[in-house]
Structure formats: C-alpha cells, structure tokens
Amino acid sequence: MNKKRSRLEIIRDILEVIKSRNGRIKPTHILYKSNLSYGMMEEYLEELIKKEFVIEIKTPKNKTYSITEKGNNYLNQYKLISEFTDSFGLN
C-alpha cells in the first residue's frame, strides 16, 4: 500500500503537473494528474496562488494555471526542503 503523501509532496506533484504542460494547464488536467479530490485540489490551488507559486489566467471560455518563478524555485529546491522537514520532524 502506498504511503500517504505529505503536504509538501502534493504541492510538488501539482507544480510538476503544471510545469510538464509547458507551464499552462486546465484545472481538469490538474485534477486528473494530481490524484486529488476536487475540493482538495481547489484548496491547494488557492494556497499556491496565495503563495505566488502559481498564477490563474481567466479567459471568457475557461481558466488555466501557470507556474511562476517562485513555483519553479520550489521544485528546484524540493530535495532540500524535504530533507529539512524530514530531519526536523516537520512533515
């Protein structure tokens, strides 16, 4: 059985999904790829927008999400973040 993902891992997974789509993706794709419920995905996206990891682009037809420099930085430094939180019991 797979271990439950930590909050940091979920954020990484969402950002990776957004990045993999050339940094622009529809919410339905995030939902499908990130393996989260709709409610949870909304909650995480709201948090990521607030933290400026992701920007929401609204058009009359739909809305898409794009990764920011801060979001990319999070992905690049993920190993260090994860190592720190694991060692100091902050997961």
Partner: protein, 235 residues
C-alpha cells in the same frame, strides 16, 4: 549582583562561552529554517525558525547576565547604579526564562501540526502567566527582585521546560518511527539530553557540580542538533 545558581568560579567564564555556542547553533537552525521557509512558504517551517530564534535570544540574555557576574567591570562601564544591578539581573533572568519557554511552546505547537492561532496563544499565555504571575502577585517587580523569587522562577521554568520537552521528544520519536530517518532520531536524542540538563539544573541551585553537568549535557545536545543540520544542508 545576585547569584542565581551555585556556579563554580572556575567554570563561570567557560559557561558563558558555552551559552554563546548554544545561541549560535540555535541561530543557525533558525537561519536555515527561515531560508527554507522563503522557498517553501510553509507555516510550520517559519514557526520552527521562530522557536529557535527565541531559544537563541534566551541564551544571549543568559550569557549577558553571567558576563556581568564574571566581569564586574562591565557594570561599571555601563554606569549601572549598584541598587539597580540586582533588579536588572532579576529582570534579565525573567526575560531569559520567558524567551526559552516561549521557544519551547512554539516548538511544541509546531510539532502538533494543528493550524489554530487560538491554541498557540492559549499555550503561550498559560506558559508566561505561570512564570510571571507569582512575581507580580508578590509585587517584587517594584523592588529589587529577591533571590527566593528568582529561585522559584527558575524552578518553575525548568519544570515547564521538562513538560514541553517530554511532549517534543514524544513527537520526534513518533516521527522517527514513521520515517526511520537517523537525523530525526539524532534530534530526538538531543532533546532528551536537553530534558536531562533542565532536570539537572534544578539541583544546581544547591549543588554546583550539577551546573557543570547541565552545561555538558546541553553542549552534547546542541552538538547533535548541529550535526543533524549540517548533514541536512550538505546533501
């Protein structure tokens, strides 16, 4: 200047150096923690950093108090009147214990992973009230702080520290049982040593070798924390 512990004169200057080392290790942990917070924007990492800043500040104040005892010329240099020296020493000790306990409360709150500011402020207020209330009630804040009141303050703070450290240790070992990370275990052991040193410091009010032993235990604890930090950021 009031002596708060039975401190062997030969060890006093050495203990100041150790307190500065403890402050530097705690500051290093908070520096890296806040640096990682800047990237991750995770609240618990920020709180963890703040808890170590509070602990570091408490050691800085402790070192300043002991420096005033070890180097009386500092008091003359600062032009502090004799009648104010004891009062300042008492207030300094109060600031030291409040900062240390606040650091441990912040750390305990971080480890429970509950997102509720109300619970945090409740814990913080309870901790500070239990330290400050007896002093205010006896009104000694308006008089040079009496040694007995300072002893009570020190014992209460040590007992509170032991309580919060047991809580923190439990969480670290629980975390270790889940992640099997040796660095988590090392930090858990470091907090066990801090718990022992806090228990030991209670006896140092009457038995001076306990003061030396307390510092040695704390030194090993901070060494473990530093090793764990270095292993983490080296990767």
């Amino acid at each position: 200047m009031t002596y708060f512990y039975l401190v062997p004169q030969s060890f006093l200057k050495f203990s100041i150096l150790m307190q500065i080392i403890f402050a530097l290790v705690a500051l290093s942990v908070s520096y890296f923690s806040l640096k990682i917070y800047k990237i991750s924007r995770q609240r618990e990492i920020k709180l963890f950093g703040i808890s170590f800043i509070l602990i570091a500040l408490s050691y800085v104040i402790w070192a300043v108090i002991h420096s005033a005892i070890a180097y009386p010329s500092l008091i003359e240099f600062a032009k502090i009147a004799t009648e104010n020296v004891s009062r300042l020493g008492g207030i300094g000790m109060l600031a030291h214990v409040i900062l240390f306990i606040s650091g441990l409360i912040t750390l305990s709150y971080t480890t429970v992973k509950i997102k509720s500011g109300k619970i945090y402020y409740l814990l913080l207020t309870l901790g500070i009230i239990s330290l400050v209330a007896p002093i205010i009630v006896t009104r000694i804040i308006f008089e040079p702080i009496a040694s007995s009141a300072v002893y009570n303050l020190l014992i209460t703070s040590r007992i509170l520290s032991i309580f919060f450290l047991i809580f923190i240790i439990y969480n670290y070992f629980e975390e270790y049982s889940n992640n099997k990370n040796k660095k988590t275990l090392l930090i858990g052991i470091a907090f066990c040593l801090l718990l022992l040193s806090n228990a030991d410091f209670i006896f140092s009010l009457t038995y001076y070798p306990a003061y030396i032993m307390g510092h040695i235990l704390e030194f090993i604890a901070y060494l473990f924390i530093l090793i764990s930090l270095l292993l983490t950021i080296k990767k």
